[in-house]
């Protein structure tokens, strides 16, 4: 892996942690592309589920990144943990070496839209959180657009979004 990539990814994540949404989306897109490349080779069609669970975990646990340390080993450790955990839930075993992440070309998301596990987990949320998360993710609205469409305050939308994402993640950890 090139130092330039490490450098620019950790730069993006530092900006993201300070609240820069665009830097954050850019960071997550690039991480997703890299993970997808590795995981497709390893586990095929289930790769996208692991990519999504990993992104969600990165999001909820982003304060566990030590900004003085490289970000890629941290990302890879989370992906490895999430993949092993997902297979354990299905009663299967899988191994992933850190070396598997090296020398992988980024891969774009496949066009075929299937109902990912994360979509099913979304269905398990309460109606309020589900409406907010779906409005922002699937329908692509911003927080303030969602607030006016659903007749909520922006603060309430923010809280529902954060709790909804955390609940989806907990659903996986329990499953």
């Amino acid at each position: 892996m090139s130092d330039g990539l490490e450098e620019s990814l950790s730069h993006s994540l530092r900006a993201a942690i300070a609240g820069d949404q665009r830097a954050y989306a850019d960071f997550l897109e690039r991480v997703a592309g890299r993970l997808r490349g590795t995981l497709w080779r390893k586990i095929g069609t289930e790769a996208e589920d692991i990519v999504q669970e990993t992104l969600l975990a990165i999001h909820l646990k982003r304060d566990t990144w030590d900004a003085g340390q490289p970000v890629l080993p941290w990302v890879h450790a989370i992906a490895r943990y999430k993949m092993i955990d997902a297979f354990r839930r299905k009663g299967r075993r899988v191994e992933l070496d850190i070396g598997d992440f090296i020398e992988t070309l980024p891969q774009p998301e496949a066009e075929t839209v299937s109902d990912r596990e994360i979509g099913r987990a979304l269905g398990l949320l309460g109606p309020g959180q589900k409406a907010v998360v779906a409005s922002i993710s699937v329908e692509g609205r911003t927080i303030s657009e969602t607030a006016s469409v659903l007749g909520m305050t922006e603060t309430a939308v923010r809280v529902a979004l954060h709790r909804g994402l955390a609940a989806i993640s907990r659903h996986f950890a329990r499953g």
Binding site: Q21, Y24, W74, R80, A173
Partner: protein
Amino acid sequence: METRSLIKALAEDAAPRGPGFGARWALALGLGIALALTVFAALLSPRADLGAAMGQWRFGFKMGMALLVALTALPLLRALSRPGGRAGRALWLVALALMAGALAEGLTLPPEARFPALMGQHNWACLALVTLIGLAPLAVFLGFLRRAAPTDLPRAGALAGLASGGIAATLYALHCTDDSPLFVAVWYNAAVLGLAALGALLAPRLARW
């Protein structure tokens, strides 16, 4: 849900919230020690001859070992609570120091005095009370691990147990009048290792994320 939709939602949730990793660690550390201290103060008191005991090498060894376990395990617990964190070899140093102390005592005591020194006066009380004092910080540290992101759960749980045991042993050592390193190597360690086993067992159930 497509991945790009998920990323949209995550980016909208980018605003920082709540205390960060460092603050949560400091909180867990403070709360764990405070709770252990509360249990100790509720059940026990420092030994009456604490001042005189301080001059004895055996007492110093006992306190030193207990502190060493706590001070070694705590930074390792913090390191292992992050994805990809590693434990390193520091724990072997603790085990080595402990064995050296027990060996020194075993060699200096006459053979017939060794077994009584090992059994001490209050061995079962030591085992039970160190465990009891250690349960409170163990619960706090497992809660901390749940909010953090350990990727090796049994090992992180074992370190939570070792750290709790080290804190509990340090406090109990102030009360306990059994000072032989042989006693410490057996009874203190049984309690500390019991807490470590409990942590290793509980963390995969309680701290998954």
